[in-house]
């Protein structure tokens, strides 16, 4: 983990698979990785909030990103994990659990390896991405966790309902590529 700071511009990401896609989050955001355990459901909460778990005496919310992105809810398997991450919610650092189908690896990316996300074609809206990381021939979607966690489910729903392409075409004129680079 300390390597990330000593390397000049290179940053480390933890990659994980979710609903058929591969995603990455900045490794400094990840506090620990837990094997999936039974989550206590909380009634009257959005579908994307899976429930709460006991993290050594602290009650921590678990978020299902697949449900948040408008995809079917994550099925629990032997490999399912909970990433305990720190995200900013309403200006305060909050510990949140994020479900993953499986944790892949730690990848190190330099500025040259991170491309701005294209305006369409990805499962997640471009606003919630830091960029696309190139790992060999694969692309890893680098998530902007703070924005993903604090965003409402509805903000993702539009993509799911109308199709990513249509939404992207709508969004394209107002969000040219230059902005995306800046955001990344």
């Amino acid at each position: 983990m300390t390597q990330a700071t000593e390397a000049d511009d290179r940053a480390q990401y933890l990659s994980f698979s979710l609903a058929g896609g591969e995603y990455g989050v900045g490794i400094l955001k990840v506090k620990e990785i837990l094997q999936y355990e039974t989550v206590t459901r909380v009634p009257s909460t959005p579908r994307s909030v899976r429930g709460v778990i006991n993290l050594r005496g602290q009650v921590v919310a678990v978020v299902d990103l697949a449900a948040k992105f408008g995809l079917p809810e994550t099925e629990v398997s032997r490999l399912t994990c909970i990433l305990i991450v720190e995200a900013r919610l309403d200006g305060q650092d909050t510990v949140v659990g994020v479900m993953a189908d499986a944790v892949q690896e730690v990848i190190e990316l330099g500025p040259a390896d991170v491309e701005p996300a294209p305006p369409f074609g990805t499962a997640v809206k471009v606003d919630f991405l830091l960029g696309m990381g190139k790992v060999g021939k694969r692309f890893v979607l680098l998530l902007d966790l703070d924005r993903v966690i604090s965003a409402d489910e509805k903000e993702f729903a539009r993509d799911a309902a109308t199709g990513a392409l249509e939404a992207a075409l709508e969004a394209a004129p107002e969000a040219p590529a230059g902005d995306a680079v800046e955001a990344a």
Binding site: T40, S44, L89
Partner: protein
């Protein structure tokens, strides 16, 4: 940080906390001074406090505050030198100066460079008072600007106001010996844990009995530590009670009445969170006692009572709760007036049929007020309602007892700590929920004919009385198949009762309450969470929220049936 490496932020924070504590102490001392004008010790204590504020303000660079404190010192110096007598007017002025100081500190902390205009004007008044003192008895040095020899503490240190553990919203002062004991315990826990690890590693050698013993040893230490931490959160109630000496004085003065405050049980310890929540209700009740309870001196004389009324703030422990009583020796509740007002406000149908007990209940109704005119002190009809709500938020209760002509006594019962409650565990589908035990009235088996009904809620016949009930499974949309036999937990909230239908009853246990966290901004029907023995999280049900929903549904169901 500046060039000296001093963190000014930290200094300011410390100063702010200390200043607030000092101001509270000064108010107490001033009220005491009024009662015992010749008490040197009080004067010395006051002077020391003013000097402390001055020094602190100079250190953090709050010049306005420093100068104001300096002027205050001048007046106090004259009092000490007997060139000025203690009068009611002067005490009022000095109390006012504490208010102005408080305002200036707040303004300076908020970053104001200039002294507030009000503070400047006030300083002139203060200087005039000191001046007048200088010329009247003709004994003091000329002019008000003579600065007293700073830095010396008065001799005869008899007056030591209580208030070592002042609790503010964010910080808590803990006795260092308590912390040392915690450190010792955590050290012992580390050793016990190491021993347990050793035993587990060489499992072949260690018998099950040995392991269990090692575990019990560690367990005992954990419990000791938990108890110690809970205790560290407990602070004496005295510092919360004492400021009301001033509330009583000011309110009495404003109403043309005379009253004094008596504090009993100031050493009773209670959780800091409880203290924060009862502060406002206390103020409301003390003001009410003066406004509605204590009579003007001539009326009191005519009734054969002492002209000076007494308001008592009392705290004591009783069966796992803390009891706070606010009593006065005033007129008592005026049943006829309460009844008339209740009828006028549509809260009661017939004035003649309002009993004493009902009158006691009516004063807690939202919006109820008997005051004919809205005064600064009371009469807006929000006071007692706020008291009840704040106390209920603490899972406490309020009761009122009144004897016409002899006085009123309000009794508040609050749990000692908010961190642990007695819970009643119930199971629905795969989930476990916890109901606060004090809300549970009884448990029943759901009659078979009701089991067959598939509606999410309904009405039960309990010993001839109708009882609306809801199925927790349907209420929360938990899914899963219903078991053959269901149970009903009858819960109460205020005057209402209702049934909550669950699959299984798991019995009662002590429950450590944990907040649900920021991801959940107030889930209806859920008040918090707790961790079960198996490490899973269970949700604590908010009976009030659930019942509001039940009553609403019951009403809809009745409307549909009609």
């Amino acid at each position: 940080m500046d060039e000296l490496g001093i963190d000014r932020e930290l200094l300011v924070q410390t100063f702010l906390a200390e200043a607030e504590e000092t101001f509270g102490r000064m108010e107490q001392a001033l009220v005491a001074l009024e009662a015992r004008p010749g008490d040197e010790a009080i004067l010395h204590a006051l002077f020391r406090d003013a000097h402390t504020v001055k020094g602190g303000a100079a250190l953090v660079g709050f010049d306005g505050v420093r100068e104001l404190a300096h002027d205050l010192e001048d007046v106090l110096e004259r009092l000490r030198g007997r060139s000025l007598g203690v009068t009611d007017a002067l005490v009022t002025l000095l109390l006012r100066s504490v208010d102005v100081l408080r305002g200036s500190v707040a303004a300076a902390a908020a970053g104001a460079r200039e002294e507030p205009a009000a503070a400047l004007a006030f300083r002139r008044r203060l200087a005039a008072a000191a001046q007048a003192a200088g010329s009247a008895p003709g004994a003091g040095e000329p002019g008000a600007s003579s600065s007293p020899a700073g830095g010396h503490a008065g001799p005869g240190d008899a007056y030591e106001p209580a208030g070592p553990a002042h609790a503010s919203a964010r910080t808590l002062r803990v006795d260092v010996t308590k912390l040392d004991r915690m450190l010792d315990l955590s050290g012992e826990i580390a050793i016990a844990r190491g021993r347990l690890t050793d035993l587990l590693e060489q499992r072949a050698g260690a018998g099950a009995e040995q392991l269990l013993e090692a575990h019990r040893e560690a367990d005992r230490l954990y419990q000791d530590l938990q108890e110690l931490i809970t205790k560290a959160r407990m602070v004496p109630i005295g510092p919360t009670f004492h400021p009301h000496a001033r509330t009583v004085r000011d309110a009495a003065a404003a109403l043309g009445k005379r009253a004094r405050l008596v504090v009993e049980g100031e050493d009773v310890e209670v959780d800091t969170a409880v203290i924060e929540h009862i502060r406002d209700p206390l103020t409301h009740m003390v003001r009410n006692a003066l406004d509605h309870g204590i009579e003007p001196p001539d009326v009191r004389r005519a009734r054969g009572k002492a002209p000076i009324g007494t308001v008592v703030l009392r705290a004591f422990h009783e069966a796992g709760s803390m009891v706070i009583q606010v009593s006065d020796d005033g007129a008592g509740l005026d049943r006829a007036r309460i009844a008339a007002r209740a009828v006028a406000q549509g809260l009661a149908p017939d004035a003649a049929r309002v009993t004493d007990e009902e009158a006691g209940r009516l004063v807690f109704e939202p919006g109820f007020s008997t005051a004919d005119a809205v005064t600064e002190l009371s009469g807006r009809g929000v006071g007692m309602d706020v008291v009840r709500r704040n106390v209920e938020a603490l899972r406490g209760s309020v009761a009122i007892r009144s004897v016409p002509g002899a006085g009123t006594e309000i009794t508040i019962r609050v749990p000692l700590t908010l961190a642990i409650i007695q819970g009643f565990k119930v199971g629905v589908a795969a989930e476990t929920f916890i109901l606060p035990l004090d809300a549970v009235v009884e448990c029943l088996e759901l009659p078979t004919e009701e089991c067959a009904a598939s509606a999410p809620c309904g009405i039960l016949n309990v010993r001839g009385a109708p009882l609306p009930y809801l199925r927790l499974r349907d209420h929360f949309g938990l899914g899963g198949a219903r078991p053959g036999r269901e149970n009903v937990v009858v819960v109460r909230h205020g005057a209402h009762t209702a049934g909550v239908t669950v699959d299984a009853l798991h019995g009662e246990s002590s429950t450590v309450v944990k907040p649900l966290g920021r991801m959940f901004g107030g889930v209806p029907g859920i008040s918090g969470s707790s961790i079960l023995g198996n490490g899973r999280v269970a949700l604590i049900l908010d009976v009030g929220g659930l019942l509001r929903e039940t009553l609403r549904r019951a009403a809809t169901a009745e409307a549909n049936a009609a």
